[in-house]
Assembly symmetry: C2
Homo-oligomer: 429 residues x 2
């Protein structure tokens, strides 16, 4: 039995930038095979641009360009927002919802800043809001979290969600480079921006962490709730010490739920080299999910780039267009749970503290006493003898972040310690 012929689903693209151009190309090239998947023909009815006279990629049909976004949204069923930034994207999406249109976006910054407002507007209008490409580019992640795991409980997410920092840390690990050299190389190769702050200081990862946490825990999480620490303080010594201990350094976005509430954080972490995240090389992204019944799951792929991101956007367009054609609606996001979002102090983590200490008897006992005085258990001690001083790496058991931080503060002023060289959290074991 074939489905009866359905009216065309009209698609508007706002912003033909790098991703938008690829989306337009795929919509035009694949239109014939998309129709049976949608259950109706898809028609690209227009492309909103600020300046229609500007030169563009040859793939963009000039006769579809318009500078009138409101009129374009009016004659579309599905609005695909690929302009980026907060405004006018936010206002245009809200006006699309108000008119009952389905919206697909790849706009991470907008969802991290205004997610709840957008989710509520979509639900109030009974409209679909899909944003697979906003979290980890090409990696199908939103759909598995919202749908495949809908009958399970996600307990913890550990994600490598920034390709630039993973590239830099991977080069440091593979080739023993220092941070500055690795970053410079990443900039020369186009993996890092001239001003790398948004990537290396963890701002990009923090926005994705906020979105991931809100999806996983059905929870309002804003950027301000995310503890953030970048990779610019990571040294070649940190990476070498990690390797000697069968670990790798990764910048992780972490969201976890306990009885007390939810914590969300971004920071460099030591990961065992047998963990699937340790095998994520170059500029790739991966998200590891721990669920109550499913156990450990990992999703891996390209987190950025025009064509990969466009692939995720197209998947969303097919889903929402199918709902227009044959009925149905995607998951609702505005049914929030009421778990508390806790500050970083309340997180339970493990520390690896690397320090230089005087090479004399009794030092270890005095250092161990500092940990004990804060109730922090020691899991392992590695001592590297030196010339009058010694290197000491102490890995703790899991403990409240506040106790760990207090321990380190006291170590920094302790007579038995020359210097605290680095503090890295241990994850994934």
């Amino acid at each position: 039995m074939s489905e009866p012929a359905k009216p065309t689903v009209r698609v508007a693209v706002l912003g033909p930038g790098i991703v938008g151009t690829q989306v337009v190309r795929l919509l035009l090239e694949h239109s014939e095979e998309l129709a049976p998947r949608v259950g109706a023909p898809l028609e690209l009815v227009g492309i909103y641009v600020r300046d229609a006279t500007r030169e563009r990629d040859a793939v963009i049909p000039r006769d579809l360009l318009t500078e009138d976004a409101a009129a374009l949204i009016d004659r579309a069923d599905v609005v695909v927002e690929l302009m980026g930034g907060i405004e006018p994207a936010r206002t245009l999406i809200l006006s699309a919802f108000a008119a009952g249109k389905a919206v697909v976006t790849a706009n991470k910054a907008l969802i991290a800043a205004h997610g709840p407002e957008l989710f509520e507007a979509a639900d109030a209008a009974g409209a679909d809001f899909y944003f697979e490409a906003a979290v980890a580019g090409a990696i199908p992640l939103v759909r598995p979290v919202r749908e495949s795991l809908a009958g399970d409980h996600i307990q913890r997410i550990l994600g490598i969600v920034n390709g630039t920092t993973n590239y830099v840390l991977d080069q440091m690990t593979q080739r023993g480079l220092g941070y500055d050299v690795a970053l410079k190389e990443a900039q020369d190769l186009g993996y890092a921006e001239a001003d790398p702050t948004a990537d290396v200081e963890g701002f990009d990862a923090a926005a994705k962490a906020a979105i991931l946490a809100s999806l996983a825990f059905h929870q309002r999480v804003s950027l301000d709730d995310v503890f953030r620490e970048g990779i610019s303080a990571i040294t070649a010594d940190d990476v070498i010490t990690a390797r000697d201990n069968h670990q790798v350094v990764k910048l992780l976005a972490i969201a976890e739920r306990s009885d007390a509430g939810v914590t969300v954080r971004v920071h460099p972490a030591l990961v065992p080299d047998t963990h699937p995240l340790a095998g994520v090389h170059g500029a790739f992204n991966a998200v590891f999910i721990e669920a109550e019944s499913a156990g450990g799951l990992m999703f891996y792929g390209q987190g950025a780039g025009g064509a990969p991101t466009a692939s995720a956007v197209l998947g969303d367009i097919v889903s929402v267009a199918r709902h227009r054609a044959v009925g149905g609606r995607g998951p609702r996001e505005s049914n929030y749970a009421v778990n508390a979002v806790l500050p970083m102090d309340a997180a339970h983590t493990r520390y690896a503290v690397r320090m230089s200490v005087p090479d004399r008897p009794g030092v270890l006992a005095r250092v161990a006493e500092v940990f004990a005085s804060h109730g922090v258990g020691i899991e392992s001690v590695r001592q590297i003898a030196g010339d009058g001083t010694a290197g000491l790496v102490i890995a703790t058991h899991r403990a409240p972040e506040s106790d760990l931080a207090a321990t380190v503060a006291q170590l920094r002023s302790a007579d038995a310690v020359h210097e605290v060289l680095s503090v890295l959290r241990i994850e994934g074991d």
Copy 2:
């Protein structure tokens, strides 16, 4: 705005085995939080068993047991088939479709054998048919392939889809064990059956390969179309030689599309140790997908087990129940493409041929001539000098399987070769 109250969606479970028991537990324990995700309350209305008097897990409510499958299906909206095997599962699912019910199953053997018949029955009835748990247990794979990548072109799938064989090969790799010792250990630990044939000879992986290929390429693929070779001939020497060459041995399910058609195969393969699949240890599963726009994606998790499989089944139940409650339908599967399914001979692969040869001048030239006479290019040669004989590992360029097989047949009878010790295909580079 909250959705108006909807009538209860009635769920029937057929077969409370290991997976079914976990599904019942999750349905009962999580019923309150599932309702908002579905858009209506879910009610477990009955559990079909062949013998209601048999003793069962305490989680199974005895008053829900029934020996009358037809009557149970009749009063359900969603039928969850977890009996396994072909009959009576096939007949019960077809009767459910005939009555317009949605069906969720984890039955890999049934879909591999009767997929097209079931897909057509579902589409004829306009009913949902979901089977996430049938391919790779807990790993969300069907939904990403059917939906997230709906606007992309999948070109190739490389999957580790059998936990038993991955456990055995991983132990051989990590600890240098021989095949028999590693298999015995896997049996003692419960990772392998007393009769391990279905796993180690690749039958289980072949069934999953057929399902994956049919999903990825919108194509009818039956078990008979799948070339199959198991791992029982893999030796400790193969694994050591691989490691010296920065490769690992994995049993892969491979489906790929070329202009000529589709090939589907299961066999041991050498994978570069930097490939994400190389980092899949123990009994874990992972599927690596190469798509035109998305690039490389990998999905990793537990491929078997009661609770993980139940997690995937629950996700499917929520999706199809949501369609009952708020409208809509999942993707249709019976729109088949008309690509040819090609025999193994037509596949393009790379071989690594390990042989012992006389340790004298001129041997390499004569061996190389055999490859050249079949038009097979040599990519690398590694020679390990011995005592009168030498080990030789030749890796080829990509070539038609038929030419590679003919090359090896001629090598086996060549004067310049003592013995062809092993032939392994190279994938993922």
